[in-house]
Amino acid sequence: MKKIPLVLSVNGEEYDIYIPPNRTLLEVLREELELTGTKEGCGEGVCGSCTVLCDGFPIRSCLTLAAEVQGTEITTVEGLKNEDGQLDLVQQSFIDRGAVQCGFCTPGMLMSAKAFLNRNPSPSEDDVRKGLSGNICRCTGYTKIVEAIMEVAKKK
């Protein structure tokens, strides 16, 4: 398979890479760029654990070809923290509220939550549940996750 050159902008940094065209964004993030914060769950677009932001919108990185996102700005969980190294409000709230158990869904949850809150600064609990309905968590029962997101919304 002929490799293709690609310029990806991830967390504000530009990466020049040379990859076979059949690589998904998830594979490139984890294997080429060593940004292993983004997790692969089902690999079929169902669970949402591979969610990253593309120009601020959540996408499934396991179903997105890396070549398809050239020219956009990708944000992964590694890029959530502020410039001074402080955790993002959503991350801190997940910790404070105990919204993490095994942690595997957490990077995807954080990215979906971040994109959701950017568009819905004062949501109802129902809005949060609908907004995050594309992310599956098998541990928490979602209660703590919803609470954590509601807390961030109240602080803003």
Binding site: N22, G43, G45, F57, L63, E68, A115, S133, N135
Partner: protein, 348 residues
Amino acid sequence: MRLPSFEYLEPRNVEEALEMLAGHAGRAAVVAGGTDLIVRMKQRLAQPAFLVSLKQLGGLNYIRRENSLIAIGATTPLVSLRDSDLIKTHFPSLAGAARLIGAPSIQHLRGTIGGNLCLQTRCLYYNQSPFWRSGRPPCHKDQGKICYAEENSDRCRSANQSDGACALMGLGAGIVLSSTRGTRSLPIEDFFTGKGESPFAAGPDELVTEIRIPVPGNSEGSSFQKLTYRSAVDFALVSATAWLAVEKGRISRARLVIGGAGASPLLLKETSDKLVGKDVHDKHAVEETARQARNHASAFMVDNLGSTLEYRKKMSAVMAKRAVQKALDRCLGNSSVKGRKSQEDQKS
């Protein structure tokens, strides 16, 4: 799982895309968002030699009014349909269907209406990993000669689970197909073949470029109802959409469609016609319609989705009833208080 090998093509405009499709006819697949195709490629259910990306074809992302039609570009993301005032006002069934496809995180960028319309038919015994399928001979859809869903079936019995296709068929949409040979427009009924092996009437060199829907009058209403186990990221076990027009307290035109039953959304012409002339408050007529819908849909259903066949058959009546009732409510709402929207319409 890694994707199979392919050559990636990125046309800069529609003309270039059509030339690529014509040049590699039968060996190329179109990728808009990829939420269906990439999964099928991972499962080795599709192994195109060329992948034609529509990424740079920004010209196909629009919703606009053209006289008595609303035209929707094929790569318009589902979220645009979900949130568009034009769609919410005129076609609440389509806005509702868009809201129920996947989840918000899929509707934003990757899920497109053209892609959803072209969602391949699905079956519990086909949409599986290569390992799962390797245990026995391939089925009709996998170029084999056997059907695991229906014993002794001589053809593929997979189901169309596209919510967009079901809603669009209810609205009597037209599908615009383009190729280097020219452009043609098909009524949505003719876009589907009804065959599980090859569900679409589009040629291998053709691209769905636009969806055109006639703008309804004031006393018309539509609704889409979907049955799933999960509230998000799930395909319809059975769905129904109804589009109705009301004149002088009676139903004057009707289109009832059942999704998730056959290889195409089922337009129930006979059942729809029987609704015409009925009083808008005739509950018995709605019940009777639901019963007929179940009878017709049951003839197409086989045990091939993640629920028992009997339950899906029963629920086809319930979905049909809810769709007709909701569409009627909207007809009456539209004619008495113009522009009034139900709570369901406004939620997103």
